[in-house]
Symmetry: C2
DNA sequence: GCGAAAATCCTAAGAAACTAGGATGGACTT
DNA sequence: AAGTCCATCCTAGTTTCTTAGGATTTTCGC
């Protein structure tokens, strides 16, 4: 199963080059799965982390794990308890399920969730996070019975994950995102929203920029309208998402 | 100058493998510059996009462009006017300075800013955005007199940019970021902050979760304290930054 | 020079958020 | 059994935000 060292480098970039020529969602999926199979991954789940009010299923880019497993996982609300998932919040870097078992002290109920996956054909897997330009956090999770998780395989997987995610997203979201036309903010509106994002009040912003606080309010209201937001918390989130301000 | 096709793939992953063994900031910079020189890039600027109140210079990961050019750029407030920079907000993907000239209708004053760079040794360059887990948007900007900007070079550059950025960040920020201990939110606090982030009022959240609005207020206040925020706009930004909620 | 867009300033009432106090019950740990 | 953390509920006074009206000046492209 394991390749020679050089083999990994070559494979990964060959994969990327071929991937970039594919257009349709189905072609892209097939290409990704074929590549992952070479590493011993039978399954792949790729999803963006759902917002409040969104269901897990609506946020899937791709999934080929057994449907009844997903149903079970979803109905038991495992996504809030699974240590492999909660680790996402703590760990910047790619990690494997076995890394989590080794490095964290888990409750019995948590270990059970990981063990349960075996009954559906997965003993170990990788978790790779991708953060897109718009701040959307996505997770690329290949798994299988006996995947290759060597350091060199992980480096190659990281490249594969980034490009696979972009390709899936390109195929699935391109049109959808173009629909969401967003009215651009003016420079002053942007400037003021940056101060709003760090928690300044309109009075404080007025003092900082040497303008009346009513003017600040005015700019914020204009920005809210352009960002399609009723409260400034959401306006800030939207401004980040649209790239008007950054974190 | 241009390599054979296969050469790009091999170079890029060789670069990554060698980069991962380097520890110090200076070693890493030297390695990156050497690699970029192979593509015809003499200069590199790498920075995170400054928040309100932060200066451009504090957000630099690396820069070797002439100091007087940076001073001029900074004092003229070019960062708000430079079309190559404003394009960052619109364009998800890597692009070159010449792409911007070709695809956008620019004012004379905007073209001047790009042209001015020639006097300091850069005729063209690439802009590559990297968004980290914590939502920080960074920009990796190599430039030079006659860089190789062929499609295959761009693919390789994307890999180089991602890993270079991570390496620089690892070397510069590791300790700094560990200082910023953040008190984790409870599941309920997280859940409520997600609703705050989409602009719901406490009354509305109370109705959704079937609890009293005063309880919602209480949870938000606890979350604000843990996130070190005085207003909920900033609390939302912090929660995103710490990975407690996602966009 | 004209028109459009941007930036500036204002009032006033009602809604929402912030602050500073509380209190109770349940789950889990030691 | 005691202690800790979490989730739930409450009041009341203060500040900030939201909304719905205005108006004037500046800037920039044509």
């Amino acid at each position: 199963m394991p390749f020679e060292s050089d083999e990994y480098s070559k494979r990964a970039l060959d994969f990327v080059e071929r991937l970039q020529r594919l257009k349709t969602y189905d072609e892209i999926c097939k290409h990704i799965l074929k590549e992952l199979a070479q590493f011993g991954f039978n399954y792949l789940t790729s999803f963006s982390i759902p917002q409040a009010g969104q269901s897990f299923k609506d946020c899937m880019w791709f999934n080929n794990r057994p449907q009844d497993y997903i149903e079970r996982y979803s109905s038991q609300n495992y996504v809030l308890k699974d240590p492999v998932v909660t680790e996402l919040r703590k760990n910047l870097n790619p990690y494997s399920w076995s890394d989590v078992r080794r490095t964290r002290e888990l409750k019995k109920s948590e270990v059970n969730i990981i063990d349960e996956a075996r009954e559906w054909g997965s003993r170990d897997g990788m978790m790779l996070q991708i953060v897109t330009n718009s701040g959307l956090v996505s997770c690329f999770c290949p798994c299988g019975l006996g995947p290759d998780l060597s350091p060199r395989a992980r480096t190659a997987l990281e490249v594969i994950a980034i490009y696979s995610h972009h390709a899936l997203r390109r195929a699935l979201v391109q049109n959808q995102r173009d629909d969401v036309v967003h009215i651009p903010l003016t420079p002053r509106e942007r400037e003021i929203m940056q101060w709003v994002a760090v928690g300044k009040t309109d009075d404080e912003i007025g003092e900082i920029l040497l303008i009346a606080s009513t003017t600040v309010t005015q700019h914020v209201e204009n920005a809210k309208r352009k960002l399609d937001a009723l409260r400034r918390t959401y306006a800030v989130v939207q401004a980040i998402r649209f790239g008007e301000i950054s974190l």
